[in-house]
Structure formats: C-alpha cells, structure tokens
Subunit: 373 residues, 2 copies
C-alpha cells in the first residue's frame, strides 16, 4: 500500500500546474480515505435494490477525481459478478463546479484514462446536478445508493463571523454554538432530502470531516495544529498592517466539524427525525488517515530536504483553504490580493521548513452507513 501511495505521489508531484483537476491532485489523502470505503459500498450493493435499474449519486463531488477509482472498482466488481444492470451515476455539487472536467474525465478525455469507467463499461451513464445537496436532487424513491466524501462540513450559510480565529475549532463558545446549530439544521436537511431520494433498502454512505473521540480533527492530531497555523499567520498579517481588522475577521471558514454525537443526534430517541423520515443508522465510526506528504518525508529524509517537504505540503492545505483568505480581501486589486495570499502561505511554508516534523495534515473522518427503511 505504501508503495502504491508513493508511486501515486510521484505522479502527483509532477503535475504541479493549477487548473483542470487541481483540486483532486492536491487531495490525495482524501482519496486514500475514500478508497478505503470500497468494502462498505460493495457490502451495500449486496443488500440494495432488486429493481432493474440502478442509480448512484456522489454528493459534493467536485471534479470527481478523488472518488473516481472507487467508482471504477465498484462497477468493475459488479460487472465481474455478472450484474449488468444499467447504472446512472449522478455527480452533484454547486452550480459553479467544474462539471466539464468531470464529464471529460469519466469519458477518458482527461487524466486517469485508465479509470474512465463510462468508456470502459457498457450501460453506465454519467450525469451532473448543479444544485446544493441540502435540497432533494432526484425524483423520490429512485436512488439506489448515495455517497458523499468530505463535502458536508460546509454549512449552507455562515451563522456569524468568527472574531478571533479563522475556523470554528478556535471560536468562542457563543460562536461555536451558532455553527453547531447551523450544522444541525443543515444535517437534518441533508438527511431529509436523502430519505426522499432513496428507494427502500437503499443506502447513503458518507465520510465527512469531523472531531473524533480524542478531540482530533483535520491537521490537529498531535503535531502543531494546522488551523492554529492558519490563524497565527493570518493574525501575523494583521499585526504587520498588511491586512485590515475587517479582512482578518472575514476569513471565517464556512465549515463545522461535527462530532460523532452531533452526527448521531437525528437518529437518537423515539421521537427522532430519522424515525419520521424513514432512515436508520447502521454504523458510525471515526477514521484517521495519516498525512501522505508527511509520511513520504519521514520515509525519505535522506533525499527530501525540509524545504522540499514544505513546498509539497503547503499546497495540500491550500487547495481548499485559499478561497477563504482570498475572498476575505476586500477592495484590493488582483495583484495586491495575490501578493497577500502568496506571502501568507509563504510564511506558513517557512515555518514548516524550519520544523518539518511538527507539521502534518492527518485526516480525521466520521464514516456513516445510513439505510432507507
């Protein structure tokens, strides 16, 4: 496994250009976590849907790259077992998502041509939906299997700005409770929508960022906490007069990391939401995935310098966080904005280069298998 990961990492390192597929390339850790769920999907397939047509959904899929191998493998297993039923797979994300890259990838007109399952297998149809997953997205009772990976920590709206930090993990109690409340409202909307979409016996399997039983979360598993680093360098820019107080505050991630308890809440008690909408929680567990960049560095200290590690590491934190800092900068020219964002990540990079063994972005996920009854 480590060998494969490294081979994959080498390929990824060569592809340093931003643009089509950039998100997927810099999220290899997410891919490793997603791939590990294959047995859950296969297990679900053994139980779901005796109906003649199958429909899968990948909610919050971005460009579809991180889950591509999973879907390839799942369809491959089905066909090998002699299950030749037609499969429609619908990828959903916000309307602004890059659906063109996604559609090209699945047809073998992009990267990872070997995983272009639409081309490889008969009777597989790839669709997209540009509506947020808090709404119902397909006709009631037509979904055999729903899947979502590292997408549902985004709240549908920011309940407030966080004054002294960039993320809810460092917010005041009052702020944090507002995020928690919004996240519950969103989670209930997500579950209600999936309950409508799923056919009886259909499963919704999701893997989301969250806080585990040891208080660990993304980039906060014993080393220097990533969100503390973000906050420290952003505050550094405030202290140096590079950004304004308003800009500091505006950089608030529209995210909430739920605990197992928070994810479970709609399923607990006789009067709970899940009983009303017809869902049950088959399993929930937490999952730690070690930072592949840090692992690569630890295993190759003889050949990788701290500076090289830092250069590889920062983009994996940047691919999904940059938009928050960038859009916090108001009334700036494009050049100014670029300069500030570059120096912010450069400061973080320098810190990592100075103490490489104190930095990692381990993934902490909460995995759930939910069934439509």
């Amino acid at each position: 496994m480590v060998e494969n990961e490294k081979a994959f990492l080498n390929t990824q390192s060569e592809l340093s250009m931003k643009g089509a597929g950039y998100y997927s390339k810099k999220t290899i850790g997410a891919k490793i976590a997603i791939d590990s769920l294959q047995h859950l999907i296969i297990d679900a397939l053994n139980n779901i849907s005796k109906s003649k047509n199958l429909r899968f959904a990948d909610f919050g899929s971005a460009d579809g790259g991180t889950s591509q191998e999973l879907w390839y493998n799942v369809i491959s297993v089905m066909r090998e077992r002699g299950d030749h039923r037609p499969i429609e797979i619908i990828y959903t994300d916000l309307a602004s998502n890059d659906f063109s890259t996604l559609f090209k990838t699945m047809q073998g007109m992009g990267e990872n041509v070997d995983l272009a399952y639409q081309k490889e297998f008969e009777n597989v149809f790839v669709h997209g939906c540009g509506t947020g997953f808090h709404d119902q997205l397909v006709t009631s009772g037509t979904l055999s299997l729903g899947f979502s990976a590292t997408a549902m920590h985004y709240v549908s709206e920011k309940p407030c700005q966080i004054l002294n930090h960039v993320h809810m993990v460092g917010a005041s109690n009052i702020e944090r409770n507002k995020f928690k409340k919004q996240a519950l409202v969103d989670w209930e909307a997500i579950l209600s929508a999936r309950a409508k979409e799923l056919e009886p016996g259909g499963r919704f399997i999701c893997i989301n960022f969250g806080i585990d039983e040891n208080g660990r979360y993304l980039g906060n598993t014993g080393d220097k906490s990533m969100f503390e680093s973000f906050n420290r360098h952003w505050k550094g820019h405030l202290d140096s007069g590079i950004i304004t107080e308003e800009e500091f505050i505006s950089a608030t991630f529209p995210q909430h990391y739920r605990t197992v308890e928070e994810f479970s809440q709609p399923f607990v008690g006789n009067d709970c939401l899940s009983n009303k909408i017809g869902l049950k929680l088959n399993r929930i567990f937490t999952k730690l995935t070690k930072c592949p960049y840090r692992q690569e560095y630890e295993n190759n200290k003889a050949t990788i310098t701290p500076e090289e590690f830092a250069k590889e590491f920062i983009p994996t934190t940047r691919s999904w966080s940059e938009t928050v800092f960038r859009s916090a900068l108001k009334n700036r020219t494009y050049e100014e904005t670029n300069q500030i964002v570059e120096s912010f990540y450069k400061n973080y990079e320098n810190e990592v280069a100075n103490s490489p063994s104190e930095h990692s972005m381990d993934y902490v996920h909460i995995v759930m298998e939910i069934e439509r009854i």
Copy 2:
C-alpha cells in the same frame, strides 16, 4: 407577437457583453422558432407516459437559454392541469459546454429569473449530461420526452475538408456526398440512441437546420446568401495574403444541412431502420423564421441606420461561426488570430452596411415528431 419580439430584441441589444449566456442572447431567432413548437410538446404530453415519474431531455442544449421559456411554459401548463408528477429534465451537450451557467439559470441565479422553473415549481429536478447525443445517454426506457433544437446539423466528424468553400452548401459534389453520408450515419446513431432511451409512447421532438423544398436554408432565402458572404470574405483574406491556403481550407464547418428526404430516409420502406428499432415518424415539416434583426431594421428605417443594423446583425452570424474561422488559423499568436477574425467580420459588416436590404439570416428548420412504439 411582433411587439413581443421587439421588446425582447431591445433587451438583447443592451446585453452586448460576451461571456455567460452570450450564445443564447445572439440566437433570438432560434428562440422564436423553438417557442413556436410549444403546442407540439403539449400535444405530446397528452399522449405520453402514464408512469408515475416523468423524464424530459433537451439534447444539445448549450446554456439552456433558448429553450428556457419553452420548458417553463410546458411545466406551467402541466401544473395548471393538476399534473404534479415529479419531472427530471436532463440537459445534454458536449463535455466542454458551460453547464455552470445552465444550472445557475434554472435556479434563478442568473438572467431571466422569471423563467427559473426549477425554483418556481415543486418536484422539478435539473440534471446535465456531458456526453454527445450520438450515444445513449440515459437508462433504456426511462425517457418520456426528448427534445432537441438546432443542434443535430453538427456531424460527429468532418469527412473531409471542403477545398473551395467553407460549408457543405457550397461544396463540390464529391465533398457534399461525403458530408451527406456522414450525416446519415450520425442521424441513424441519434435515432438508435433515442429509441433505446424512450419509453413506449414517448416522443422525440426535434427542430433542426436543414434545406427546405425550395432549396432554402439558414441565411439563404432570397437575399445574398450568408455562407456565400462568409466564403467571399474568407477568400478575400486569402487573396490579400492575410491567411494561407491551408487556413482557407481548414475553415470547413463540421455541419450538414439535411433535406426532408434525408431526415426521412430511416423511416421509409419495409426494411427501414425505424422498424427495427421501434420508432415511427408522426410528422415532418419545414419552417421558415424571418431574421428578427432584419425585421427590426425594416420596421424602423427612420431611426436605425444601415451601420447600426450591420453592427447588430453580424453578431448573430458570429456567435456560432467564429469558432470555425478561429480554429482554422494555425501557428498564430492570440493577437494575430484576433486581428484576422476581427477584420473578417468587419469586412462582412461593411458589406451589410452598404446594402442592408440584401442581408438577412432567416432560419430554415425541419421539424419532426417521432414516436417510440
């Protein structure tokens, strides 16, 4: 009707910026033709599908703008009649299509907010598909109604370059026959794919560019022929040494305008394709839609100068043709390419300004209603 068209035209004229929705804005004539088919769709709805869920498809939809009002009206009529069945509508086009604009538009996050039917009506789900319509795009037997407007004149591949002209309407007999043959192969693939997708009783209604019983086609209805003008000005650039012989030849539209006979061929005779795949042709007719820009000019000569007319007219020919001339220019810098394309359309514009009453882009369509038996 003319009043409405003019009101619409005025709105369109104000929106001269390229970018999101540009294609739809410059194709108002296509929109007028499409809207006129509403009765065909409504009529089809009276006959199709007693099943509990409905699925519509819009094949080759581009950004969805030109058919948006049609779909709004169709869904509106259904709901008014008390038909509240869930509707999935899937928009298909090439993977490179701007699906983001499409998804935003239908949710009311773009222009024409009043026509955002996904937001307006309950139980309507908008999906996309980035695979070409020569393939089957949804699971067999799940489509209630297929629709396509002005999309299927594109051939899946150019059978040859046209040496002395830019379009098959001016090609040699040998070249023209190659296009005709490719267009038949494509049309049979299109019909075979739709036959698989449609449920019994389902209809496929399409309106395509073609050549009518009087030999008329797009921009060639009695005035100076648009494609002859394209060819003349492109040849002018060759004669002036601005473009090379190879560049002249490369500008070959990947299009074939079929006649009624060509469209009908798969439906004729006992041994015909349609009998094998289970389709029948309920009706086929040609339709002329007058150029709205020219009409506007003719009705307002007192206030619109020939130069103003020319400035409005050229973009309606340019929105879909520019890519052909642009991509014919090889090994040119971006600036050179721009310069050549600008001067090409400028020459056409000057010609129109000099003889405004000799130029128009009337639409000639072949309309078909095909039923799955």
